[in-house]
Symmetry: C2
Subunit: 348 residues, 2 copies
DNA sequence: TTGTATGCGTTATCAT
DNA sequence: ATGATAACGCATACAA
């Protein structure tokens, strides 16, 4: 077992100084061709590679970016990671992952752990608990220390930083407009409580679409679910709520749901109640998920382009890292990713 | 914007030496209560945290583990990551993620990048291309340099290292036995080409189950798909192959598929051909996926406990990292994770 | 009780 | 053309 070789060892073996070795390997013109040859050959033979940690310390730059997400077992977030990874690697960076598990304290701890020199900047999406508590001190402190932060998807306007978001409002609006143009008269909304920013925006898109088309808003058609409950686990609870919605509004002929699971559950419940999709009820979801594509009937959905979000976020962060910050000009930008309406079998 | 504070700055401010500060912060008995108080108060005020990179360099230990997987947008792998992350964080480690994207060269590059000091050890699952090429030099070289490697799921016996695998053979066997005991007489297998180790093992489980029950093996009932094709994209191609299978074996009354997508496609095709599930055909898949649970009918499946695999792998690696290697005793272990058969609506 | 010196691996600056 | 030295931030053995 040969341990990783260092400059020092090469120097000792070849009986030259460390700095000579270093220069020779970087092809410095200061060094004679002879020595270069010798050193480079030796280095290749022993497969020398500079130690990243030493470089990081010296350069005060790790070439690593930290990404903190609420949950990795989630198609949307893993696609974002893939996007980040893709761009990061292409531009010479590594990616280190932290999971907040939707918890405030884990988010804080994870960020502190990484902020102590391990990474050059953050890409993150805020946990639900943090959104509820509205405690954003850790973000601000991190940025105060000169560590750039790019937020994606779940963001808050109070925080001054670069952001990449989905056009939740517009995507939702277009989805509902589609239902309207498909002749739906009673369009239900299945959404989350308002503290989830994206849920709120999608809800607003729904309302705006109805308003513009001259529909009246019926609050009985809106089901706001508390997604602190893990509905992956409590699926029956979810279905019960939706069933209630359908039963108290028998004329529902369209459903817009702010995520995939809600949409699928709506289809399931509707079918159970003897309604046929899309003949009796048309359904559109909001997601980048895999369920939509493979469900029966397959689900029409607003696609979020998660991977592109990751790519944009990574580019934004790395640009900031590699630009000589002329201080003062603290200009933050927000990139809005447009959505696509993917029409499948759940709409006419 | 106050940059991160260092020992040196604290020392200068308080007019003591760096080592005094260092000792005071670590509560060394060498230092007087007075100075300790002063230093600790100051440190807390300025929120001092030791620089990870400096510590890593000094200790020659990064407390970071690298995980290399073929694909992150995949329920199985992201669950494994979650397991790794969970244990790693609990034990004071960070996780850095590299994606091979099923490519040999990306796998090699990614490993080299991380092996140069960034991490203490690897957890990885081999890419398909690497499995085909059977070129494992990068794994061996990494281990030669004293960096421990734990492989999971996709492993090869040629490589001497710790491993965490699923009981693919047993899981498949039990699934097929279930179909048999449910009175299936013509059980088809939808699997991958043999170079994918897990596919091969599951195929063997299928065969063994049939053999033990005295069934004859009919090669016409076995469909081996080349999964270099991305069937997520070429879904129609997949369905066509399966349709062919059903048409040339009209008596098929059971299907065992080695993954979720194959199983779902089988159900879809069967329905299209007028067969009802599970009345006419019973189907069992193999996976940890989310599709199975939400499909209609929901899919009975062999669960792999991906998160547990990640946890075990992390424990294995960290144990190795933290044990004083008495050299010589190079004992590697292979942990086998048992599967569960989850019965849902696609079986009787 | 406090401070000095050394080293982790590297590069850059400044001698020789 | 080559080498000595300092510095990145920290911890520690050893002096004072």
């Amino acid at each position: 077992m040969k341990r990783k070789i260092t400059l020092k060892q090469i120097a000792r073996e070849l009986d030259v100084s460390i700095s000579t070795v270093s220069k020779a390997l970087r092809n410095s013109p200061e060094i004679s061709e002879d020595t270069k040859q010798k050193v480079q050959a030796f280095a290749k033979l022993y497969n020398y590679k500079p130690n990243n940690i030493a470089l990081s310390l010296k350069n005060r730059k790790t070439n690593t970016i930290g990404i903190i997400i609420p949950e990795i077992v989630h198609h949307f977030f893993s696609k974002v990671i893939r996007g980040v990874e893709l761009v990061a690697n292409k531009r010479g960076y590594n990616v280190i992952v932290g999971l907040s598990n939707e918890s405030f304290s884990k988010e804080v701890i994870n960020m502190e752990m990484l902020a102590n020199g391990s990474i050059d900047g953050f890409i993150l999406s805020i946990s639900k608990e943090t959104l509820q508590l509205q405690d954003y001190h850790h973000f601000n402190e991190t940025m105060d220390q000169g560590m750039p932060v790019v937020m994606f998807d779940r963001v808050v306007s109070d925080i001054k930083c670069d952001k990449v978001i989905v056009n939740d409002f517009g995507g939702a609006k277009r989805a509902v407009e589609k239902l309207i143009s498909n002749n739906c008269k009673q369009i239900a909304l299945i959404t989350t409580k308002d503290y989830v920013s994206v849920g709120k925006l999608r809800t607003q898109g729904y309302m705006e679409a109805l308003k513009e088309s001259g529909f009246e808003l019926k609050s009985s058609l809106i089901l706001k679910l508390d997604d602190r409950l893990d509905y992956e686990v409590h699926l029956e609870a979810l279905e019960k709520e939706i069933e209630q919605l359908f039963k108290s509004n028998t004329a529902i002929d369209g459903v817009f749901a702010v995520n995939e699971l809600y949409a699928l559950s709506a289809m399931k419940v509707a079918r159970k109640l003897g309604l046929e999709i899309p003949r009796d009820v048309q359904v559109i979801g909001f997601t980048d998920g895999v369920l939509s594509k493979h469900s029966t009937p397959s689900l029409s959905t607003v696609s979020q382009h998660a991977q592109i979000m990751g790519e944009r976020a990574a580019d934004l962060l790395i640009n900031k890292l590699e630009t000589v910050s002329t201080e003062a000009e603290e200009e933050y930008q927000t990139i809005v990713i447009e959505t696509d309406l993917i029409e499948r079998e759940s709409t006419k």
